[in-house]
Subunit: 342 residues, 2 copies
C-alpha cells in the first residue's frame, strides 16, 4: 500500500489487535526513518509491526524505451496541452530493499519483515532474521511458494489474483512477450491458497478479495493461518488515500479493476480509468518497472489539478466495493470476528 | 463440460446425492435425446438432474476472417505437414439453446436447466419454467448477476475466474479491442461470490477453484447456497476426458492454465499448451465463437494421432491438481462433507 498509507494506519491496526504494516518502497532513507520513528512513538518500541519492501532488480536506464513510451503518450500530452518531459531525466519511483535500507531499519528491529517480488539477497534475509524478524514474502504460484520456503520465508503470503496493487510474481518475468499468457495464469485466492497449503510446511497467509469476517472465515476454511488485507482500509481516515482515489472507490467505477503495467511497468490491479481504456491495460511501450511512472507524472498532475483521475493509479482489489469509510479499528474488529469460533 | 462428460457422470453424481448435469452445447438433437434417455434410464424419470446449454448469438459466416485465421495457423500446418482446410467449409461446433432444442428437452421435464452466456429468449425461459424447471445461469460480474435475476434466473452461478472452460460473460463483448481489458477485470471466486450475495435476492452458487470439502466450506462462508464443480471430476472413470487430457491433468503442466479464445473464439480456461504459447492466449485473428474450432480440427487430429496435445483444448480450472482418478461417487462424497456442520 505504498503511497496510500503510512504510520497512522499501521498504528491504528496494531492498536486494534492486528499486525499493522508500513509499506516502504517509495520512501527515502530519511522518510522511512521518520515513519518508523513515528510508529514506535505511537505503539511502543516493543510492539509488533511489519515493514514491507519491494525487492525487484533495478533496471538499467534506457532512453530509447523512454522515447517510445513518450511517443505512445504523445496524444495525451496534446490533449492536456502540456509539454512532455525530457526522456533522459527519469528517476526510479521505487527502490528495492538493500543494505542501505537495512541499515535504516535494523535499529528498530521490527518483528516482521515482508517482501514483494521475491526475497532480497540471502545476506539481507539472514540479517533480518538475526535481529529476530519473522520473514514473509508473497507467492502467486505454487512454484514461487516452494522457492520462498526454501530461501528462508517463515510464512508465505498467497497473493490471489483478486488483490489490489502490484502482483508479486517473480519467477516468471512479467514483461516478456508472453505477458498476457503470464497474467492469464495468475490464480484466484480460492485456487491458490489450498494449493500452497498442500505444498508448503510454513504457514500460508491468504490475500486477495478478503474484506470482511466472512472472507476471513473462507480463508481459514481453505487452510490459511492468517490473512493480509489492504483494500478494505483504503477509505479509513487513517489511510493517505487521495480524495480522487476515495471518490473512485465509492463510485460505480470501483466495480471494475484490471491488472495494468501502465503506471509502473509491472502489472498491478487498479480501478479502470481513461488511460487504461485508451492504451489497453498492457502496452508494449511501457518501460520496465519502475520506470513507467515518470513519463506519466506530468499528465497525472495536470489531470488531478483539474479534478480528474484519468492518469492516476487507483490501486484497488476486486472487492473494492467492500471498502467502508470507517476507522481502521472498526475495520480490524470486523476482520478479527472472522477468527472467532462460529 | 461439453465434450468431456455425458450421462454416465451425471448419473453417478445424481446417485451419490448431488445434482448431475448433462452439458448439451455440442450435441445434435438426436445425440441430446439419446443422452437424456440414457440418463433417465439410469436414475429414473423423476430424479433431479440439470441440463446445461450455451445461449450465444450465432455469428454470421465470414470467409475473410477464416482466411486470416488460416494464415495465422499456416506455420502449424507446415510444421505438421498437412493441408489447411477450405476456409468456406466451416460448421459451427456448438449450437445455442433454441426452440428446436427445447422441443427435444421438454418431454423430459428436467427439474433444472442451466445456461451459459446469458439466458435464451424470454419465451424459452418461460417455457422451461412452465414445465417446472428451476433456471440457473452464470454471472461473472455483479451487473450480470443483477441482469440474470431480473430476467428470470432462479439462482445465479458466480463463475469465479478460477473456473475451467468457457467464461460465461455476456454483458460485455469478449471480442472487442479491449478483450485484454475485459479479461483483466474478471473476478476471482473470493471477490465475486460475496458481492453477488450482497447484490442479489436469489441464491448464489459458487463456481471456480472448488475441489474439496474445504473449498465447499469456504464458499458457504462467503454466503453461497451451493457450489458447482467441474474440474475435480475430470479424472473420474465416468468422465469422457481423453487420455491425452488425463495425462496433462496428472502432470506438471496442470499447474498452469490460462484463459484463451484460440480454440473456440471465446475465452476459456485450459492447460497451457504449444498453440497457446506460440500465438499467445488471445490472438486477433481467432474468428468469433464458435467458429475458431474448425480450422484447428485437422491440426488437433494429426497431433493427437502422434500422441501430442499441442493443438487440443485441455479445459481445466486453476485447481486442476486437486483432480483425482477416483469414482465420481467418492469425489461427490468428499464435496458433500463440506456441507456438514464442522
Amino acid at each position: 500500500m505504498a503511497g496510500v498509507q503510512g504510520h497512522a494506519l499501521a498504528a491504528a491496526v496494531a492498536q486494534a489487535g492486528a499486525l499493522g504494516s508500513v509499506p516502504s518502497a517509495t520512501y527515502t532513507a530519511e522518510g522511512l526513518h521518520a515513519e518508523l520513528q513515528a510508529l514506535v512513538e505511537r505503539i511502543g518500541a516493543d510492539a509488533a509491526y511489519n515493514v514491507n519492501f519491494f525487492c525487484h532488480a533495478v533496471p538499467t536506464a534506457d532512453v530509447a524505451a523512454q522515447h517510445a513510451w513518450l511517443d505512445a503518450l504523445a496524444p495525451h500530452y496534446q490533449r492536456l496541452g502540456i509539454s512532455a518531459p525530457d526522456p533522459g531525466g527519469f528517476a526510479a519511483s521505487r527502490a528495492p530493499y538493500s543494505a542501505a535500507v537495512a541499515a535504516v531499519v535494523a535499529p528498530f528491529k521490527p518483528r516482521v519483515m515482508s517482501f514483494h517480488f521475491g526475497l532480497p539477497a540471502p545476506a539481507l534475509v539472514a540479517h533480518a532474521k538475526a535481529w529476530g524478524a519473522v520473514v514473509l514474502a508473497s507467492a502467486t504460484t505454487v512454484e514461487e511458494g516452494v522457492w520462498l520456503q526454501a530461501n528462508g520465508a517463515d510464512a508465505v503470503i498467497a497473493q490471489g489474483l483478486e488483490a489490489g496493487g502490484h502482483r508479486g510474481h517473480f519467477l516468471l518475468d512479467g514483461r516478456s512477450p508472453s505477458d498476457a499468457l503470464l497474467l492469464a495464469q495468475q490464480m484466484g485466492t480460492a485456487a491458490l491458497v489450498p494449493q500452497l497449503v498442500a505444498a508448503l510446511n510454513v504457514p500460508v497467509i491468504a490475500a486477495g478479495g478478503i474484506a470482511s469476517a466472512a472472507g476471513v472465515r473462507a480463508a481459514l476454511a481453505l487452510g490459511a493461518a492468517g490473512v493480509q488485507v489492504g483494500t478494505a482500509y483504503l477509505l479509513s481516515p487513517e489511510a493517505l488515500t487521495s480524495p480522487l482515489h476515495r471518490a473512485a472507490l465509492q463510485g460505480p467505477r470501483a466495480a471494475h479493476t484490471a491488472l495494468t503495467h501502465l503506471f509502473t511497468g509491472r502489472p498491478a490491479r487498479g480501478i479502470v480509468n481513461a488511460l487504461m481504456q485508451d492504451l489497453g491495460p498492457l502496452h508494449p511501450a511501457a518501460p520496465a518497472f519502475p520506470l513507467s511512472t515518470a513519463a506519466l507524472a506530468p499528465l497525472r498532475a495536470a489531470a488531478e489539478k483539474a479534478g480528474s483521475a484519468d492518469y492516476s493509479a487507483l490501486w484497488a482489489g476486486q472487492h473494492a466495493r467492500a471498502a467502508r469509510p470507517l476507522p481502521a479499528a472498526e475495520i480490524t474488529a470486523e476482520l478479527l470476528r472472522g477468527f472467532a469460533p462460529a
